[in-house]
Symmetry: C2
Subunit: 122 residues, 2 copies
């Protein structure tokens, strides 16, 4: 777990953006600072940051997007254009968030299941 300039650059890019960037977009931004950085490195570092819970992965039809953990928030995702909008406020259930119409919502609980907990005991 060495500190490399690639790692800190990529973490900075995600932490300083509110655009839910893809790996490719992060790669393009990173090249301004490190012209020789490779796309494979971006993917590998992003996976590590997600594993370490430094950033979050948002799975989308056009590939994964990555989000910082600066402020606790959820997401509004447009069914049509797939835009991701941060939802900072507490949940108001009038089927609207701002002027965006809510059609559905999904809650996923992430954790360690019974079977995997047992395996960790060994």
């Amino acid at each position: 777990m060495r500190n490399t300039k690639q790692k800190s650059l990529i973490l900075n890019i995600v932490n300083n953006s509110y655009d839910h960037l893809t790996a490719e977009e992060i790669y393009e931004i990173a090249r301004h600072t490190l012209p020789n950085i490779s796309l494979g490195t971006v993917y590998r570092v992003l996976n590590g940051l997600v594993d370490d819970k430094k950033i979050k992965r948002i799975k989308m039809s056009d590939g994964d997007h990555f989000d910082n953990l600066n402020e606790l928030h959820n997401h509004f995702i447009c069914e049509k254009c797939h835009k991701i909008i941060d939802v900072m406020d507490s949940i108001k259930f009038d089927y609207k968030i701002g002027n965006n119409k809510i059609v559905d919502y999904e809650i996923n609980f992430i954790g360690i299941c019974e079977d995997c907990l047992k395996k960790e005991e060994n």
Copy 2:
């Protein structure tokens, strides 16, 4: 929007399973009934059923899984083995669901954003 035996078979498979099947798994099951069905058809039909809100897509690292809408429920996803467990009960926030340890949860609101609503008015 014609009714084909491929469409009704695939919808039946998803509606009668509690295993959150992938397209490939649905394809293998469908071949028992229609040996010549093609994988492309399974993907196309599944996309249509999701668009028509007859079934739900669950995005996972190993590809999309598909879920029926028989009973309203959320999902518990194991970080280790990526198992998907249905959560039928109301949310109990003791960081456990059954014997599964909750590490995190994510809420996504799906809908039509302000911009797309404006476009629909035209």
